[in-house]
Symmetry: C2
Subunit: 320 residues, 2 copies
């Protein structure tokens, strides 16, 4: 939620000369995307997002992220389309950092999604999984079990500051998940971060998906479990089965789940709750406080993790 890289109109003008996008009318740093610097540009032809990739994004991953957006857009998924430079490149450099220009998607993120929105999100996630099956590139999930262990190693010593019993609880969770984690489920390219911030709606209809910078290869049903965690809990922490039922039904209207995927769902939900718990916990403990720093509360995901732990069957999610 910040603009990290400052750019001048001269640098930006030089950068845009590589693109056929009309004359620059304005650019504003926007408070969006926690990993990169983003600017909303108006040109004489249209609106665009300019993203400057900061340290947390590995430049070697950019062909995957940008290629995926282009692949998905080509398959009819509504997502930002990387704009090619006159010489064909989609990755440029600005202020000494890698940068890309992508089309601007109109739309609003929902803060209070209803069940019908959840159904549309489930359907869009299924469509994304189907549309990416023939995408040529792949990228391992850096935030899978090994990545979680690394985060935990960096946060474990101070986890008691958040909740005294957290250290023992998460040690046990790691042990349990290592035993129960599925090793063969349908897999492919997943979004891996399909939170309400990253889904746009216009007039009640889903209008687009954004922010593919966590996309990677992993189980499709794991992506679905991220969606359940992100969309189907209320602000008070309670699970909303009506929304979950809708999200799962939307997904299955495009890509029905196998018996193995259904059976694994509670375990996958625990895993994805642990994943977001760990990144939040790590940030909570390591990012210095400041007047403009908004850190997300790790406790939200401790509560979600505990919810999933007491689920005995995927039918409790409203899976039909």
């Amino acid at each position: 939620m910040a603009v990290y890289t400052d750019i001048t109109e001269v640098e930006l003008g030089d950068f845009l000369r590589h693109y056929d996008v009309g004359g620059l009318l304005s650019y504003k740093g926007i408070a969006e995307g926690s990993e990169n610097s983003n600017f909303l540009l108006h040109t004489s032809s249209a609106s665009f997002i300019l993203t400057i990739y900061e340290k947390r994004v590995d430049e070697a991953d950019l062909p995957f992220f940008l290629g995926l957006m282009e692949h998905l857009a080509g398959k009819g998924v509504s997502c930002p389309l990387p704009v090619h430079q006159r010489d064909g490149a989609v990755i440029g450099r600005l202020a000494g950092k890698p940068a890309a220009l992508i089309t601007f998607l109109e739309g609003l993120s929902l803060r209070r999604p209803d069940a019908e929105s959840c159904r549309e999100v489930g359907k869009a996630l299924g469509e994304l999984h189907v549309a990416s099956t023939d995408f040529a590139l792949s990228r391992p999930n850096a935030l899978a079990m090994d990545g979680w262990r690394t985060l935990w190693a960096g946060a474990r010593d101070r986890a008691h500051e958040v909740e005294p019993s957290l250290t023992a609880e998460l040690d046990e969770e790691f042990r349990s998940l290592a035993e129960s984690w599925p090793n063969a489920l349908p897999a492919g390219v997943i979004h891996a971060d399909l939170f309400p911030d990253n889904v746009f709606f216009l007039e009640g209809k889903l209008s687009g998906l954004i922010d593919f910078y966590f996309a990677c290869n992993d189980f499709y049903a794991y992506d679905l479990s991220i969606g359940l965690n992100a969309w189907c809990f209320e602000k008070d922490g309670s699970f909303n089965q009506t929304k979950s039922r809708a999200l799962l039904a939307g997904y299955q209207s495009v890509r029905p789940l196998s018996a193995a995927e259904r059976e694994a769902l509670p375990t996958l939900c625990r895993g994805s709750a642990l994943r977001f718990l760990l990144t939040r916990l790590y940030d909570w403990l390591t990012i210095p406080d400041g007047p403009l720093v908004q850190k997300r509360d790790p406790l939200e995901y401790i509560s979600k993790l505990r919810f999933h732990r007491q689920i005995s069957s995927a039918s409790e999610y409203g899976l039909s």
Copy 2:
């Protein structure tokens, strides 16, 4: 440089129902304006800026600020135009705070203005002074001598942290300015913050002025001195007389300076350098550090203040 107030699409939808601006397509918090929360809105009819006024702006001043913009726009000054609600009001409420919708001005702020840009800025400042002569409202300058004294009282004890000799130097500067400050010069509504951030250009031509939230009544030539400080020094701290000459000529092409104004210019320049020095010093000493906090260096204005102190005649500014 931050969005302070978070709003939901539901609140924003409720707010916009009071306006005849078409359907909302998107809204983005923009990293602009250090005092308020600003959002760039796209609707089916146009682009707008939504400003939510934070604590540092006194709600009682809003009719002055917004009325001034409307007055100036009506006189042909290119500046944002407040949009009226269906019932005629220009000040609404959003997230429990006063808020206004203004038209979005396309244009780019220059980081490296040249002399010709300075000439245009001078001319625009003169036009602003002429256009506001018949504006009905007035607002005292909260950052005039008394305001400077208040800031100094809050920063004086720790001023040595910035530079050991600063306390004595500024005590003496206050004494000297109190003696030499003019008490009768042509006065009226001034912008009071016409920095490069607040002036837009398109294709080399000045396209608009923004951010009237420091506007107040004071000497016109004091506003001009702010312009000299803001536009006519290079990044290395050196004074660029070519730019100063151009800015002053641009101003005088619209509103020639009186003999008294010319004579007072070095003193006014010292005053405005002190004003920005003090606000920066105060922020420097009182705002907690944080990873996203960008505080502006008070030393820049200490150096400008010293430059003006050794000016013996306004002709050294290139005033013809």
